[in-house]
């Protein structure tokens, strides 16, 4: 049974990596968020005239913990430990949406779903395999994004300022709890809509509204209104994980061959 499910997982992941258009979609967002945005931010901080009164006013609003240190270092900390973590809620949502939509509705569109349903696995097992594939891929994308981001960030700060930045403990919570939970919610929403959706685009719309709370959290970091801390992340993570499990159970119990093959 394990091997059969594994075969589906492997096929689904290969299906997306061999599709150039889908694979590009999968890569663009993480590259922009983890390489371009932080680089631009660092360059602006380094070379823009930070002494102007407007800029000082803006700085005063920001939650710079250690005011005694120089502004540049503080801004970099803010970047790494407050702004970038929220990106790691966006990345899994995006990766999971692309993958889940492709593997559920994509199969329906290309008429390969019926063939798969004729295999000796139950509907639940097939869907578990597909959820697992989407989840693994989204976690892989997150992990690689994190590694790339860290390398880029450390190289840049080291070259421009001559020191290393340390990611704080929040990152552990983000990568091990919040990211996986948010990604599972996104997958479940896509799976739910995919039973009725007729095209990949239809199914992806289901996960779009998930982006709003994350964007609000992101805005919160930039304006200092709602700052993330370890406790907040823990609560978000646990709530999301519970929600994901509930949604997943509920969506799977509704599947029937008849509704899927319409």
């Amino acid at each position: 049974m394990k091997n059969q499910i594994l075969a589906i997982v492997k096929k689904d992941i290969r299906g997306i990596t061999s599709n150039h258009r889908m694979f590009a979609t999968l890569l663009v967002v993480p590259i922009v968020l983890t390489v371009l945005v932080p680089t631009l931010f660092i360059l602006i901080m380094r070379f823009a005239p930070t002494e102007s009164p407007d800029f000082q006013k803006l700085l005063a609003m920001l939650p710079l913990a250690e005011q005694n240190e120089d502004t540049f270092k503080n801004m970099l900390r803010l970047l790494l430990n407050y702004m970038l973590p929220t990106f790691f809620m966006l990345i899994p949502i995006m990766a999971a949406s692309v993958m889940a939509a492709c593997s559920f509705v994509g199969e329906k569109e290309k008429r390969t779903l019926e063939t798969l349903l004729y295999c000796p696995l139950s509907l639940k097992q097939i869907f578990r395999a597909k959820v697992l594939a989407a989840f693994l891929l989204s976690m892989l994308v997150s992990a690689i994004s994190f590694a790339v981001m860290l390398i880029v960030l450390e190289t840049e700060t080291c070259l421009l300022a001559g020191f290393f930045l340390l990611p704080d403990a929040k990152w552990l919570l983000i990568l091990l709890l919040v990211s996986p939970a948010v990604s599972l919610i996104a997958i479940t929403l896509i799976v739910k809509t995919s039973a009725k959706a007729q095209s990949v685009e239809d199914a992806q719309q289901g996960a779009v509204f998930l982006l709003f709370p994350v964007l609000m959290l992101l805005v919160g970091q930039f304006t200092g209104v709602l700052l993330i801390n370890a406790w907040l992340l823990l609560v978000i993570g646990i709530v999301c994980a519970l929600l994901a499990v509930l949604l997943l159970k509920q969506s799977m119990s509704h599947f029937k061959y008849e509704t899927l093959l319409k």
Binding site: Q4, N19, R111, E114, L117, Y118, C119, L121, L261
Partner: protein
Amino acid sequence: MNAVTMNSLSKIYAGGKKAVDSVSLSLSQGEVFGFLGPNGAGKTTTVKLLNGMLSPTEGSTSVFGIEPSQNPEKVHALSGVVTEHAQMYDSLTGIQNLIFYGSVFGLGETESKKRGMELLEQLELSDAKDTKLAAYSTGMRQRLSLARALIHQPQILFLDEPTSGLDPESAQNVHSMIRRLSAEKGITVFLCTHQLRYAQEICTRYGLMAEGRLIAEGTLEALRSRIHAGMQVKLKVKNMPPDLARRTDDDTYELPIRSEDEIPQLVQQIAGAGGQIYHVSSKLPSLEDIYFTLTGKKEELPQ
């Protein structure tokens, strides 16, 4: 144990369309059963009911004693299905597709590959094994579907129009493979088709469907005896005595007789009256003749 049993099986779709109407039927193991009728007769719906993709509205069915609506995956383990709607992955090559489906059916990767290569060889697809499916022609896809359905050595094959889109030579090839599978391995075949001529070549028993109902069922002989006990004689005669036979073309005539025993007397009668005989042949009613007689339709089956 019967390979397939259907008891007053009916399916009414949500829109109210009665696709299958009280069909009762049983298939023994090793039979090649032709399930015949035009598109819309209920053949595909029956295949889906037999594989648990649809639940019956009324009646029941079982495949090797397993009820498909209760345990679809157990039925799937025993059956291979080829239908028009069951496609494979365009982004994978022929052999990659077969390896994938082999693994999903519980074969190891090495075994799937070995079986896959054998099947590709038998279906004359070896040259295209490393070609992506996107570049396959309709006929090649159809043959690969058959290979896919056979990868786990099923006990029963459900084939829904397996030769549609195939050129006559490939169709012939597929037919001889189906016959061989049934004769050598005892695989039961449930063959749905509207091509009655092809069906007559390979099936051992038939079920004729019209508008969801099973209108007749049995061997060719049994079906022939249901319409009339007799045959048609075709003659080519110059100076044919009048009113003896129906003229179909220049100098060609047809008439019904009860058995071949009547032919010598008929020939003598024509020759005695001064007719010159060029050709005499007798023909038993074909499946098409039987189908059209039973449904009262004269035209070709709609595609």
